[in-house]
């Protein structure tokens, strides 16, 4: 059995969280509230450090003036705490939303849309596997068509193809679930390893 207070503490917290699997209890509540506090604090510390390293130091020591935009924007965000001037925080907020949209659109157009099509159109339909692949892509995509009248002939057709796509998606979802179970079990194995090897020392 370990003599290190740190290991004991870690073991107690591990058991505290697992106790939730039986039901909510004071020990879990304590650990949960502690963790939420620590988590927010760690993020604040990392955020502060990063702000300092990334924006303040280059601005202050190297004269990279353009960082001041970020710092001024940040201070504008903080007006949120003062009701009469709260509206000022909307200015950087609007900016953040815009940039997020720009960035989202950018990666969607390139890696998620264009390049995925590119790697599909180069497929030659000369093996069964490739034909299956292309058919599945087409059917799945058909499921995501929205703007049609379900009662019309075309609508019925799209719905039919989409239904095949739906079945294909179910295969994919099953596969994901199946392979995820393994990944998740590893995490418990990691904790058990800690409890029985590092803490109790009963496992070689």
């Amino acid at each position: 059995m370990s003599a290190s207070p740190g290991v004991w503490l870690a073991a107690i917290f591990t058991l505290a969280i697992y106790s939730f699997l039986y039901g909510d209890n004071p020990v879990y509540k304590f650990s949960e509230h502690l963790f939420v506090g620590l988590g927010a604090a760690h993020m604040a510390v990392m955020g502060w450090e990063s702000m300092f390293n990334r924006a303040w130091t280059p601005l202050y020591t190297k004269g990279e003036w353009w960082w001041s935009g970020a710092i001024i924007g940040g201070i504008m965000l903080l007006t949120r705490w003062f009701r009469p001037i709260q509206w000022i925080s909307r200015i950087p907020l609007g900016f953040m939303m815009g940039v997020a949209a720009g960035l989202s659109a950018r990666s969607a157009i390139d890696s998620q849309f264009w390049r995925q099509i590119q790697s599909t159109v180069t497929m030659k339909l000369n093996t069964t596997n490739n034909i299956v692949y292309v058919v599945i892509v087409v059917c799945t995509l058909a499921y995501f068509l929205f703007a049609f009248n379900e009662k019309s002939g075309l609508g019925q057709g799209i719905k039919g193809v989409g239904l095949v796509g739906q079945y294909m998606m179910m295969i994919a979802f099953g596969a994901s679930l199946g392979s995820t179970i393994m990944a998740r079990l590893s995490l418990v194995i990691g904790r058990l390893d800690f409890l029985f090897k590092t803490w109790l020392g009963v496992l070689k």
Partner: protein, 275 residues
């Protein structure tokens, strides 16, 4: 077996499932079964790519390892670090997530213990926030992205001009960082890239391996176990594999049992917990 029992089995208390999961995982940890380990192609290729690097090659190890995913990523990372040490590679350690610096400290200790000199044979970069933005900045101008590192403070850092000087990029994480590595670094500098990931995301990363963008993938605890075998650095990965197999077997058993019970009692009304 009567219908009542079967109905109850379909709505079995979760806590029973949980308890058995614990026991089933524990049993093989105490009594190793030694089930066969099949080396997968992705791991083999990852190992080959690292093993082919001549001594002194420069590797960038970007890691988003965090306590939540460490059970999978840590054994992989340690195996890779030990392989790098055995092959005398120079490594730049780069924590890219807010929770990673503590893990990088651990690798730093490993290198120091192996006789590496900090700043000459290996280097630890400070953590910078930014996620994708950071990868973009690294790809376009590594030195200015880390402009807070003073010139002259490290011989290794001074000898590097940018990502083009690296012989390999190894990205570790359970999020999107492997895609950023591809988009901003591999695409631009053709740096051979491997990734160390959680098994969950293997399904979505595999297409990038097939297309040759990743030279190899180490995925999950099984990937770690395979890498340990290939690199001859026994560690935590291999010891967990039996437990995984047993855990899986139990889950499959519950699913089959649940289905059999469901089909026998089909038509009867089942209450709750069955949505």
């Amino acid at each position: 077996m009567n219908g009542d029992f079967l109905t109850r089995m379909q709505n079995i208390d979760r806590r029973v499932i949980y308890t058995v999961v614990f026991l089933v995982l524990l049993f093989p940890m105490f009594n190793p079964i030694g089930l066969p380990l099949k080396i997968s192609l992705v791991t083999q290729k990852a190992f080959d790519a690292v093993d082919a690097l001549p001594a002194g090659s420069l590797v960038m190890f970007t890691t988003a390892n965090a306590p939540g995913t460490a059970a999978e990523l840590e054994p992989q990372s340690i195996a890779l670090m030990r392989h790098a040490i055995n092959n005398k590679l120079r490594v730049v350690l780069n924590p890219t997530a807010a929770e990673s610096p503590r893990f990088v400290d651990g690798y730093r200790q490993m290198f120091l213990k192996a006789g590496y000199v900090e700043g000459k044979d290996f280097l630890v970069l400070p953590y910078l926030a930014g996620g994708e933005t950071l990868f973009g900045a690294m790809g376009s101008d590594l030195k200015s992205a880390y402009s807070m590192i003073a010139a002259g403070s490290s011989a290794l850092w001074d000898s590097i001009d940018g990502m083009q000087d690296f012989d390999m990029l190894a990205d570790c994480g359970g999020g999107e960082s492997q895609l950023w590595a591809l988009a901003h670094i591999e695409a631009k500098h053709k740096t051979p890239t491997i990734c160390l990931i959680t098994a969950v995301i293997l399904a979505v990363r595999q297409p990038y391996f097939t297309s040759g963008q990743y030279k190899g993938i180490v995925s999950g605890l099984s990937g770690a176990a395979e890498y340990e075998v290939l690199a001859r650095v026994p560690g935590k990965g291999a010891s967990g594999m039996d437990a995984q197999s047993m855990g899986h077997l139990w889950v499959i058993f519950t699913i089959l049992a649940g289905n059999i019970a469901y089909f026998i009692t089909k038509g009867k009304k089942s209450s709750g917990g069955d949505r």
